[in-house]
Amino acid sequence: MSLNLFAVDASFKIEKDVEHRSRIAVVDTSPSTNEQFFKILLSDLKISGHFLADTTHNRGELNSKFIAPALKSKEYILRYALTQGSGTKLVVRLLKASDGKELFRKSYSIPTITKAPFLAHKAISDINDVLKYASISWINRYVVFSRYTSAKQSEIILADYTFNYKKVIIRGGLNLFPKWADANQKSFYYTSYAGIIPTLYRLNIYSGSKQKITSSEGMLVCSDVSKNGSKILLTMAPEGQADIYEMSSSGGAKKRITTFNGIDVNGKYVDNDSRIVFVSNRLGYANIFKKSISGSGVSQVVYHGRNNNAVDAHGSKIVYSSRESQNSFGNNTFNLYLTSSLGSGTRPLTASGTNQFPRFSTDGSVLQYIKHSSRGSSIGYTNLNSKQSLLFPLGVKKIQSLDW
């Protein structure tokens, strides 16, 4: 397993003044070193956009009052100890570099070392909060994704955001389009092909309880979940025509939102859940449109590109992927663009490779995406505020869909 923690997308300039980020050194005081865990800590610090971490893998003592002279030029020192016994334990201490004053100390545990990445994420998230920076709690979240394994076969997998932790949660069958059902990530929706027609289920990842939501001839996807989890947007085709519907997450009648005699898919809530953006071929090619939940008028959002076939939204922010080469076969260039439902400017987020499956973090500050390039396939993250970017090796083939 290799790590490629600091591959920055070529399109990005590091625009945030480094002086605005806190200089921090990381000191490993574990009984034995673990380079992978150290790099996960560094990646957490970097993607936060709040820290400028020294990449030297320092060694030291957890409780010593001695501060190495070379580290006194930093603002903070993070000492940690990762140990394994009846469980995996992480102890962290945040020190002021100039005088060694302890600002924060906490211990974390988790049953198995495979989930150690989550210890790193939680510790850095807490340290970020202690220093009163904008929350980065999104690094603690699971990523859920589906991948094809063979014809009509797939797996649904849980991962940490770096993909260092991965666990198959549904093995076998054809189960697609996983989508988190609640803010706490206790359940997700997914489409099962076990029956004659696609069926949407909601699965509790801790208890394993599964609830049938609805089914539809043709296709069925839970494309989005409202902020409070009470409503869902579905792409379904009860009469063979892919359109967008809204229904209560507790079941009941479905409200048809689009009625176009073509392709309308990928509905996403925007503007405080009062409107949706979606992908439609109503102009003869895939593009991004928006409409209110209750009204009939549809307006074009994107006036750029000739094949914009995926979209995500957060608040008024909209991200979409645009195919920018015309190869019928083989790799095409797909780039991501950021725009707004309010009509403000559009800016590119990537400049090369095949960039797809854009997904906003829960606070809308970071974008997740899949990148295929000549150097391999990666899961990418871009902090939209600091412009910091990270790529992690994907380690799995042919992702079908993902959610964060």
Binding site: M1, S154, I196, G208, I263, N266
Partner: protein
């Protein structure tokens, strides 16, 4: 079948540490009292869904029951004149299938992504359904499902292979 995952500590420890150029963490229990630590969330379930396929009319990636698959051009979902013989044959098979429905499966090549590709596969299935309906097959006797890019016949990087994946398969279901 749902079961709690019993993790093999030794295997998973090895997985996590693979690639580390340095020593693994101390795995002894000494100095590692986790009772004072904040425990993160518990473990998740693992579900085996391999029973799939019995109810859905088969896992095949071609037509069966005497039906003939139909093939489409890149990005296209229109019925062309060279599909007429296959459509007629499929209509005859459907007419002779008493008590069973015709499942029409739309498929795409691997170059589309996300929901849009599933909608494209569905448009192909719908085109075949409409064509068969116009030749007398009752729409209630047909059911459509799009499999998007999930059901390729072949995976080699050739135009002919990709063409085989842009197809509609038909089979009988109860």
């Amino acid at each position: 079948m749902i079961k709690k995952v019993l993790l093999s500590t030794s295997v998973l420890v090895l997985l996590f540490l693979t690639g580390c150029g340095q020593n693994s963490p101390d795995l002894s229990a000494s100095n590692n009292n986790i009772s004072d630590a904040t425990a993160l969330s518990g473990d998740t379930v693992s579900i085996n869904d391999n029973a799939y396929g019995n109810e859905s009319g088969g896992r095949g990636n071609s037509s069966s029951d005497g039906f003939q698959s139909l093939y489409f051009n890149f990005g296209d979902y229109s019925i062309s004149s060279n599909m007429e013989n296959a459509i007629s044959r499929n209509v005859n098979v459907a007419n002779n299938a008493s008590g069973r429905r015709v499942k029409i499966e739309g498929n795409c090549d691997e170059f589309g992504t996300d929901e849009y590709n599933y909608a494209l596969g569905l448009k192909r299935a719908k085109a075949v359904k409409d064509s068969m309906s116009s030749q007398g097959i009752n729409t209630s006797k047909m059911v459509m499902v799009s499999f998007g890019e999930s059901n390729p016949i072949c995976t080699s990087s050739t135009d002919s292979c990709y063409g085989k994946n842009r197809r509609v398969d038909l089979r009988l279901v109860r």
